[in-house]
């Protein structure tokens, strides 16, 4: 398993999760967990996904999701999980 974290930050609108999930399904990326919170009036969503079987290299998925975010008006990032685990776990 190759875990990555997707974050979506922006104003809440209808269909954000649906659009992200549709993209992920098309790229064979499995969703392991979803959580969300509102910080300072902004919608914050985090998805844990498995990119092991993904059709494209991680770099391209990052760019695709970035572009998808722009089209919806939110910021979407995908980062490999280790940057968070290394920083927050001993």
């Amino acid at each position: 398993m190759k875990k990555a974290i997707i974050t979506v930050v922006g104003k809440d609108t209808v269909g954000i999760i649906a659009k992200v999930c549709t993209y992920l399904a098309g790229e064979e990326i499995n969703i392991l967990d979803i959580s969300q919170t509102i910080v300072g009036g902004y919608f914050n969503m985090m998805m844990v996904v498995d990119v092991e079987a993904a059709k494209k290299p991680v770099g391209e998925i990052v760019s695709d999701l970035g572009a998808l975010g722009e089209s919806i008006g939110v910021i979407i990032r995908l980062q490999m999980e280790e940057i968070f685990t290394k920083m927050h776990r001993i």
Binding site: I5, T7, D33, S35, Q36, T37, V39, N44, M46, V48, V58, G59, V62, S63, R77, L78, Q79, M80, E81, E82, I83, F84, T85, K86, M87, H88, R89
Partner: protein, 454 residues
């Protein structure tokens, strides 16, 4: 599993507090490029650098994209060229040719700086080292990406005052040859005492002879993250303050460690060290001076500055060593004047002078860094500044360095614009009393008594 608030915290550090990996530097040994023929030597150097480092920039960009953390610079350090060129470079022009070779190799692989046009002398200079030093002004004037450093002393050997004197003249000559560019050549020239072999930061990076054939060293940064963390500690006692700095340094260093391991794996080059320095940039919010002010000083330069910096430096190290087993390089807080807007403001307002900066260098990494001084400063005075810093390094068994820029044609009150990460600097006054008779003495200052540990 990682939770959403941890993810938000990390991304806030990257986006708002300017957490980044300052540099991935590949150290490359050029010892096997030595040759009795200059052209063959240049050929081998060019081939070795462009082979080993060919994927460095691309790999750095890939890691940046996949982990979402900026990697600002990709750089190269090489074996001190005074060793590589000793067999074939017989004139100043020969060394300049070697510098041009390094410059073109750096351009080919796409790195912004390459360090190692260096001479590591501490007890005395070999003929080759002296020749290289004499070639530095021309080499830096006719290359773009080459950085140069010269070591003039160590705790074990004392200070080679002949090298110090020569470096005073060399710094001034470099300033003159690059005067059309605000003497920018001097920003690429560092004079060290106790220079480390594995420093990834420019301009002082070189690949020391104690290193293997090739190695990945990573420099992390993050003054903004530390400042933001300690904003929550206003009025708290020192224990709380120190704990906060340590925890933050740990987090920053772990990012560096991750990037270093990943780069090492992808490039097939062993991981060397993490340099856990707080390296400022001219951007607001990316300043070591601001941290000191957040700790409780009205301005950097106020009484208490040295103590606050000593504490900061120590806590950064303590947090960092927990995060990585291999910590090296310079590791500490940098206080380059032109690269830190808090320092620049303090100098402009007359709240910080060279003497206070010198005191600060006793307790943090490196030394008098990126300081613009009047262009009419004499070579002997520059040598005196170098000797003072070298003495601090020698006696305290730490690395110290001098990177001053005598800006030809400018005087106190003028401002110099270096551009990019090098920033801008007000020209600072230098004590006008002469040290010429001291500097003109030949020979070396002996090693201090506490260096005899055998």
């Amino acid at each position: 599993m990682i939770n959403i608030s941890e993810v938000i915290e990390t991304n806030k550090m990257i986006e708002r507090e300017k957490l980044d990996v300052r540099t991935i530097t590949i150290g490359i040994s050029l010892l096997d490029c030595c040759d009795s023929d200059l052209d063959r030597c240049c050929d081998k150097i060019y081939k070795k650098i462009t082979t080993i480092a060919k994927d460095l920039v691309k790999t750095g960009q890939d890691i940046e994209l996949e982990y979402g953390v900026p990697i600002v610079n990709k750089r190269i350090s090489v074996t001190p060229i005074s060793l590589v060129g000793a067999g074939c470079a017989k004139t100043v022009d020969d060394y300049v040719k070697l510098a041009k070779t390094l410059d073109s190799a750096a351009k080919t692989v796409g790195v912004n700086f390459l360090g190692g046009f260096s001479a590591v002398c501490s007890k005395g200079m070999t003929a080759s080292e002296e020749l290289l030093i004499r070639s530095i002004p021309q080499a830096l004037a006719c290359t773009e990406r080459v950085c140069s450093s010269v070591n003039v002393g160590s705790t074990k050997t004392g200070i080679d005052m002949d090298a110090v004197r020569l470096m005073g003249e060399t710094v001034l000559e470099t300033a003159k040859l690059t005067k059309d560019n605000d003497s920018l050549g001097c920003a690429k020239l560092v004079v060290f005492c106790n220079a480390p072999d594995d420093n990834p930061f420019m301009a002082g990076a070189f690949h020391g002879v104690s290193e293997g054939d090739a190695v990945i060293n990573v420099g992390v940064s993050g003054p903004g993250v530390v400042k933001s963390a300690i904003e929550a500690c206003r009025g708290e006692n020192f224990e709380v303050l120190c704990e906060t700095i340590k925890k933050t340094a740990f987090k920053i260093t772990r990012v560096g460690q991750l990037v270093a391991q990943e780069a090492s794996k992808r490039l097939g080059i062993p991981f060397g060290i993490i340099d856990l320095s707080l390296a400022p940039t001219p951007a607001v919010g990316d300043s070591v001076a601001e941290i000191l002010e957040e700790i409780g000083l009205e301005s950097v330069g106020a009484p208490g500055t040295t103590a606050a910096l000593a504490m900061l430096n120590d806590q950064v190290k303590k947090g960092g060593v927990m995060a990585s087993s291999y910590v090296g390089g310079l590791s500490g807080a940098f206080i380059p004047v032109s690269e830190d807007h808090g320092m620049i403001d303090a100098v402009c307002a007359g709240r910080l002078n060279i003497e206070k900066l010198e005191a600060m260098t006793c307790v943090c990494s490196v030394g008098l860094d990126m300081i613009a001084i009047p262009g009419d400063t004499s070579a002997a005075t520059i040598a005196g500044i170098i000797a003072d810093e070298a003495a601090i390094g020698m006696v305290n068994a730490k690395t110290t360095a001098v990177r001053v820029i005598p800006v030809i044609g400018k005087e106190v009150g003028d401002t110099v614009e270096f551009g990019g990460l090098l920033g801008y600097a007000p020209v600072m006054p230098v004590n006008k009393n002469s040290c010429a008779a001291f500097i003109s003495r030949k020979g070396r200052i002996p090693a201090p008594i506490h260096s005899f540990k055998n």
